[in-house]
Amino acid sequence: MKPAPFEYCRPDTLDEALELLHEYGPDASVLAGGMSLGAMLNMRLARPDAVVDIKRIPGLDAAIVASEVRTGATLTQARALEDDTLMREVPLLALALPWVGHFQTRNRGTLCGSVAHADPSAEMPLVLTTLDGEIELQSARGTRRVRAREFFVDIMTTARAYDELLTALVWPERRLETRHAFVEIAQRHGDFAIVACAVETVVDARGRVASLTMGLGGVESRPFVADTAEFIGERACPALAQAVAAAAAERVDPMTDLKVSAAYRRALVRSLGAQAIAEAFAARPTT
């Protein structure tokens, strides 16, 4: 299908973009890579009065690795994958990015766009939530940061106000000795995840779990972070991985959709979760 008519706006500066969002409010859609918005417009699920194309605003495409790691609004998934420094600083992102869409969509799709779109099965919201990263939002009123764990409200619904532009993702400083895994089940590689699982863990010198975070995507209407407190101090082994995943499977409230039932998703949390945690336990720690 073809999109409904819209006014095309291409601001040259961030201030101009923020003015436009202020002017149009809920009737504007922000366009970066367009890998989610393009499909929404073509199917007329979105019918904005104005499309605000932010791609030519200088500086928004940067990945900055300094005291904190920031990835800008127009940084594409392909360019992020090619950025060795960024991939070393955020190892879980490096594991998850190849699962985002396809080679051809990563060439244009952005990290921030995926977060702004907030599809419950998307990898970028899951990874940012698992790592407890933040989202930077700017408007004519000022700049604020929201934790990913508070940003995602429901399916394709976020804490972003209509006049705010999602200008960057802020990734937590790389923690030494962390181990990571990312696994996903979809009908085909690159399709929407039925269940995706992201894990960050620290195993101490005695082989005990010092920290463990498991995030689940595609299960509920937003990324789910499992409570693993009861397992800290236990020996890191496949049996423990199974116990953690089984506990998470009891606590999630999975969606049913045209593809699979809630019961199937719950079973996947158990099996895929155990696989991901065991993989993380066995992974090489960051140095």
Binding site: A4, Q104, H189
Partner: protein, 166 residues
């Protein structure tokens, strides 16, 4: 700041297959439709129009992308390569010859998109594994071939390009 009215046609300039081309487009005009209906380049095919099937894939500013999920006005000034640009002087290119040799084309609907993806892909991965080629092809749907001849053709083309010295 550029603001283009929804109900008017606006000039769009592209460099298509190394030639400057100009046409006109409403903001909602997809790049795929602009290439076909405004510039007469019917080699780019249109399938699902939501980025899944891969038929409309072209190379924009050096990267294989979906032409159905971007707008012509968005690409103003860009360099675009379409399947029409692959054969120089009426001779098939190395990749096209490999597709012919391996019978990697049946109905041909998906072919143009796959050729453009493979062109970008082989430029970045001159010596890909079969698994890497299959992963790249996950962004395309072919309902005829079962993909085997396409995979074989791309691997063969990679070898031929390496032997020809890039």
């Amino acid at each position: 700041m550029l603001r283009l009215k929804s109900d008017a046609r606006h000039p769009v300039t592209l460099e298509v297959n190394d030639q400057p081309r100009i046409g006109h487009a409403e903001p909602r005009r997809l790049l795929s439709d602009f290439l076909r209906h405004e510039l007469g380049l019917y080699g780019t095919h249109v399938g699902c129009e939501h980025g899944v099937c891969g038929a409309c894939t072209v190379i924009v500013d050096g990267r294989a992308v979906r032409s159905c999920m971007q707008f012509a006005v968005e690409c103003d000034g860009a360099a675009v390569r379409t399947v029409e640009g692959l054969a120089g002087q009426g001779e098939l290119g190395i990749l096209q010859l490999a597709f012919r040799r391996h019978h990697a084309v049946q109905c041909g609907f998906c072919t143009a998109g796959i050729l453009m993806s493979a062109t970008d892909f082989l430029g970045r991965h001159p010596d890909p594994s079969e698994a890497e080629v299959r992963d790249m092809l996950s962004g395309h749907i072919c309902r005829c071939t079962g993909y085997y001849p396409i995979v074989a053709a791309i691997l063969d083309a990679a070898r031929a390009i390496r032997e020809a010295g890039g």
